[in-house]
Amino acid sequence: MSTATANADVVRSLGGVYASAWSPATQQVLYSPDTFGFGHDLVRGRSSLADLLPGDLASALLPLAIVDEASLACAVVQPIETGDAVLHPGLVVRVFLSAVDPGHQFAVLDTDPYLYVASLEAELAARGPGLDRVLDEIGVAYEQAYLKPGKRPRDFVVRPVRIACQNVIVALGAIAQDSTFDGLSVPAWQTCEVPHVATHEANRALAALTLCDAFARGGTMEIRFDRPASVMLDSRRITYSGHAEMQVPASLRRFGRARGIAVGAEDPAAITPREARDLFLAVTPMPVDLRARAHRAVTRHGLRPERACYTLLSQMWRDIELDLLLATSDRASSILAGGANWTDRTARQAESDAARAALMAGMYLRRLDGRDSAFAGVTDGVRVVEDTSLGVSWTIDEETSTVDFHLPSPMAPPWSDAITAAATETLTVAPRVHVSDADLALLRSRNGAVLLPHDVAAPPYMDVTVLRCPDRLADLDKAIEAKLLAARISRA
């Protein structure tokens, strides 16, 4: 698309925004030129941007709406380069008015100004009834029927969902398995943007939770927003005809557009199984290498993408663990599905060793990446216990089944039996139960280390660093058995 065409589209879209009749709730957050007589004054909005941003950047953005007390939604009217990406005219981005990590500034909210405001209109119209539904009816009914008596709900029961970040609720929803179409029914879905949470994170989190539930219930993964649902509150049945919008919620469609995923395109009232697959992959955080390996496992080994996503989001296997399994074992699909039959010992041996290595690598990453805030010289002030990660990353060498840990600063490898182990920024680790001569030769050449269970003897004449996992082989196997059982019954 040429710049002229793009600009014409932006102008047409903005014209639609200013010429349309919006509800008072939408008008309250909109910026518009003075002559249109609603919303906030656009000139003042632009001058606020000019005070905040360099001149060329400020002139490339047009304030569109208030997102929250610390950020604005702005339409891009001229191309903006943001390091590794270019924001094209027409995109709607979020501009934070206070200092934030540069990665969060100009996050894409939507792909078109008119679509953005129209989605706000639909979202705000449904917000009141939706909130009343979850907070005053579904939540209370669930508490009376299941939380207070300590009863476990069946899958067809309407179950409320609440997602909060630092004591601020960012998403509310309600879900129930519906056997009439063998999928998930969603009578409530409300999200919002707040200053301290990344853009669309509430949508991503609620979508992830909803998709995980759809997977765990074992249906077709179809998610419908137009199916009746009911709850019993104070012996009174309350019936809903579906979600307040009776279609895929506007905020979720907006999230889909921002991520380039079609949501509600095949059927406006549903996320179809195919759309659910794409959405599941989009909402599941995966490092680039892991995503590529998961794709290979899907196309070559018959791994269901939904299972890979569920495995990660439920933390059945963590990202480095899954990465190592997919990179080093042809049996990864079998492991993720619960493992081979115990009578096939050869298969189980191979699976066990791969799983033990994955588990040890995961434990070692957490040890490397965790900062002990009680120890790190902090003796006064508030002790922050959230996000104490150091930012350790990893790469896996498929040919040698080793993990390279990339440390932000030189560090002596923990769990080492060598007191004088040299500090390093890249640490090559071979998580093993059986150490071969080939492993030792490789580790010698790379100055790497072998990571062994606590009770497994190192080979004699060992001349490479040995890292000792605190868990014994039996402990690892017990943890693996629990993971395999969870995998076998996860879609019950």
Partner: protein, 356 residues
């Protein structure tokens, strides 16, 4: 993603000999344990791990070993010992190529144990990467053809699955998960009606992805609506114990123990367990078809139990026509578990004429 399998000749000692014996005994117990019971399986795997570690340490110390061209697959112990019977199959040596088996027999004759160690994380025999194109497609959406809602829609969906499986001959499984137990029993009965000539065996799959070992025979029985007036044995039984205790005053007992059936395991294993147990019990109860038995089964809503039980009833009636009549009893007033007294109503019986 290399994977290597080696045979190791482990020098015999009383310790490794006892370990091998324990492995064989535990494998035998694990093979007999109830579906989903992992107690003996876990113990078996732990013992195997210990022996494999000893074998690997011996190999590193220079014990005789042989790299296998392929990883031996199939049920077997990972160890071969002179005079040790493998309870899982024909034994490790039978799965080896002849030259390797011959060498292993020599090691056994020399008083060694032969242990198979598979090492996935090092250079060795590499498996062929399968070609692309095996991606699992998404599930099909289903929509009620005549706009049915609620329970009617569930019934219509299950009926459509059965119709497609029986008439379409596609080999597609039926999926009973999430279907009400009354609908399951009633619709299955409709589709069981037929003659041995029209029989269609349909696989049964559950929403967790597991598939029952035994397919469901449909279109195979000339079911009738009349039950015997004076059966040799008449019993009123809850399908599952404990689930709805209000049934206790009207039943003579329970067909299945909830503690055995409701365990965390793949759904198909529960189906298999219920089917095999029920088939055996029905055979005992009818004295292999020589006694006439009438069962009133008060149903509860576990799909795997319902499908497994009625598959067993169907299989029994195929073997011993007329020896068994099962009358499903459904709650009609008050819901099980509610304060209202529950009343049960009989539904169409599962029975045939012509006791042999």
């Amino acid at each position: 993603m290399p994977e290597r399998s080696v045979l190791v000749a482990l020098p015999y000692s009383s310790h490794v000999g006892m370990l091998a014996d324990d492995i064989a005994v535990t494998a035998g117990r694990a093979a007999k344990s109830a579906a989903g019971d992992r107690t003996d399986v876990t113990r078996y795997e732990s013992l195997c791990s210990q022996l494999e570690m000893l074998a690997w340490e011996a190999a590193v110390d220079g014990a005789p070993q042989l790299a296998l061209p392929e990883t031996p697959a199939g049920p077997a112990l990972p160890v071969a010992v002179e005079h040790l019977v493998d309870p899982l199959g024909s034994g490790l040596l039978s799965r080896l190529p002849e030259p390797a088996a011959e060498l292993a027999r020599g090691w056994l004759a020399d008083g060694h144990l032969v242990v198979n160690v598979t090492i996935p994380l090092q250079a060795g025999a590499r498996r062929d990467d399968p070609p692309a194109g095996v991606a699992v497609d998404v599930a099909e959406r289903w929509e009620a053809p005549n706009g049915e809602e609620g329970a009617q829609a569930v019934e219509a969906r299950f009926r459509a699955l059965l119709a497609s499986a029986v008439d379409g001959g596609t080999g597609e499984p039926i999926r009973p998960s999430g279907v009400h137990n009354r609908v399951l029993a009633q619709v299955l009965r409709e589709y069981v009606v037929g003659t041995p000539d029209t029989r269609v065996d349909v696989p049964v799959a559950y929403r967790d992805g597991s598939t029952a070992t035994h397919p469901f025979p449909l279109r195979c029985l000339p079911l009738v609506d009349v039950v015997p007036d004076e059966p040799d044995i008449l019993l009123h039984l809850a399908l599952l114990s404990i689930r709805h205790t209000e049934m206790d005053t009207i039943v003579d007992g329970a067909w299945l123990r909830n503690a055995e059936v409701s365990r965390p395991r793949p759904a198909a294993q529960t189906d298999d367990l219920v089917y095999e147990k029920s088939l055996s019990e029905l055979d005992t109860l009818t004295n292999s078809g020589r006694r006439s038995v009438l069962l009133h089964i008060y149903q509860t809503g576990l799909d795997t139990a319902v499908v497994g039980f009625y598959r067993a009833v169907t299989a029994h009636l195929l073997r011993h026509p007329g020896s068994l009549s099962v009358v499903p009893m459904f709650a009609v007033v008050g819901r099980p578990g509610s304060a209202q007294p529950t009343r049960f109503h009989p539904d169409s019986p599962w029975t045939t004429e012509g006791r042999t």
